[in-house]
């Protein structure tokens, strides 16, 4: 548990600081996200492998341009869903759907890779910010931001508690007793985290109130539609055209 948690927190923190060194032109996050969504949708709709393989090729090129450390990270995260899908779909080969395994696995690979790469190029703030610019109600976007924030704050707390417990735990219990002790630990850590989180939530609300919060939340970040965005937007008709061409050729 603690390992997964720390990896997760590490990823959030890293994503918060890594953006400064990016040489890529900043594309409007909402636009970037739309293109990703469109590609995933078209892949899902495609009845022809060429389109999916084409998207996959484009993604692999983008992947190849990343530094090795990041490639390893992306591939590591890609492996699990792909292997899982292969495993799930394996029986279908013998149930009369021989192609389904390959089609679905390939499409899953493509969709997951699209998302992972999008995440490599955007940080979580871009992603949630994209929702803001799409005029999703403020209560959603604010909850999104708060969720990320509490995830880090509570994650740190839970991690510190687990560490403190590990200092006082000696692996001598066996079987039932050990399980029982573990349930109590999990309940205690989560329960304490929960109580603290409630207090923090109340205090945060008071802090918002002290700065005059009246239920409306406006964003400071503004991103103007530049020429890079216009070029990037060309990907949309391009992808659709390629899709139609591939489907027609089938």
């Amino acid at each position: 548990m603690d390992r997964t948690l720390m990896r997760l927190l590490g990823r959030i923190l890293e994503s918060d600081t890594k953006r400064t060194d990016s040489k890529l032109p900043r594309i409007l996050p909402a636009l970037r996200l739309s293109v990703v969504l469109l590609c995933i949708l078209l892949c899902a709709l495609s009845r022809n492998a060429v389109f999916v393989v084409g998207i996959l090729a484009a993604e692999l090129i983008r992947l190849a341009f990343l530094p090795p450390q990041r490639i390893a990270g992306v591939l590591g995260r890609l492996a699990l869903p792909v292997l899982f899908t292969l495993l799930i779909m394996l029986p279908s080969v013998f149930l009369g759907h021989p192609r389904t395994m390959l089609t679905v696995t390939m499409k899953v690979t493509c969709s997951v890779l699209l998302l992972l790469l999008a995440n490599e190029e955007m940080d979580w703030k871009d992603v949630t910010g994209a929702f803001r610019s799409l005029h999703i109600p403020g209560i959603f976007t604010m909850t999104l931001d708060m969720t990320m924030r509490f995830l880090v704050l509570l994650g740190r707390l839970a991690d510190a508690m687990l560490e403190a417990i590990s200092l006082r735990t000696f692996d001598i219990l066996k079987g039932r007793k050990r399980d029982r002790a573990r349930y109590m630990t999990a309940g205690g850590v989560l329960g304490t985290t929960f109580l603290v989180s409630q207090r923090m939530a109340t205090q945060t609300y008071e802090a918002m109130e002290c700065r005059g919060y009246d239920g409306v939340y406006r964003s400071y970040e503004k991103h103007r539609f530049g020429w890079q965005d216009a070029v990037y937007a060309l990907l949309i008709p391009l992808a659709i055209a390629a899709f139609i061409y591939c489907q027609a050729a089938l």
């Binding site: 149930l95 679905v104 997951v112 909850t143 995830l151 989560l190």
Partner: protein, 330 residues
Amino acid sequence: MHIPDNYLSPETCIAMTAAMVPVWAVSIKKVKDALPKDKIPKMGVGGSFSFLGMMFNVPLPGGTTGHAVGGTLIALLLGPWAACIAVSMALLLQALIFGDGGILAFGANCFNMAFVLPFVGYAVTHLIAPKFGTEESTKKRDLIAAGVGSYCGLNAAALCAAIEFGIQPMLFTDAAGNALYCPYGLGVAIPAMMIGHLTLFGLVEVIFTCAILAFVRSAAPEMQLSHKESHTSMPLKVFLGALILATPLGLLATGTAWGEWGTDEIADTGIGYTPQGMLDGFQFEAIIPDYSVAGMPEWIGYILSAVIGAACMVILFKLVSLLKKGGSAA
């Protein structure tokens, strides 16, 4: 239970998302009206809590582990409407930022885990313990009710997911009869999903919910657990119930036809297209080339393989360089 993309057809995903839109709209309205004023931070806490819960692998008898969703817990603490928004946001972050659960399938995942799960869990708990959280004397009963509620909630969600999987092969197949998305019919999908959730995952959800409730109760008895919200009105309950039942049925109706049930069953028994599928299935080379290049100019295939090959080589070299440097392949 996080459904990845391409297990469900885009049509299914759109239908599920469409079903979620009114639920989200009502949730926002309800939350704005009903929840205490510090609602947004509390929902953020709820969302991150559900997130954290999914990371706590609880050991189960027999050496296995599993994790929880926590939707019922949040529903009991903040009310089902707030739970809907909180879990939706947790799912959205997981899909977008951590690649867990599909983006197209977001609507379907929300339907199962952010809508069905908290509402069923909340309703069952309050059915068993009508005065949930209000009196000290009913503490045990409340815990049992929350346990049963969370178990029912999780399994209801799993059942919905299973049905969504199960209707795919009935509705979406290519000309050769191969399933385009999830290939397993209801007969396979329901038992496959439910066995795990009725036993392991259900148990984890119960432990997660009860452990936290019990701890909060004993460590901070002054904390008001009862969630003061006007109870869901009867017509709304009926509407929600109908929506839950109608969505998969509606999909069937708007999809190919009711008659597909018949052919699917035939297919399952192996009389229909199965022999054809079997023939294709065991000639491995037949699968890719036939499928991918059919009807396409050859040069596209060449270019694509060249591009993929080149990209893979670069990736491989970069990874090798990483190993040589002694850097850990994170």
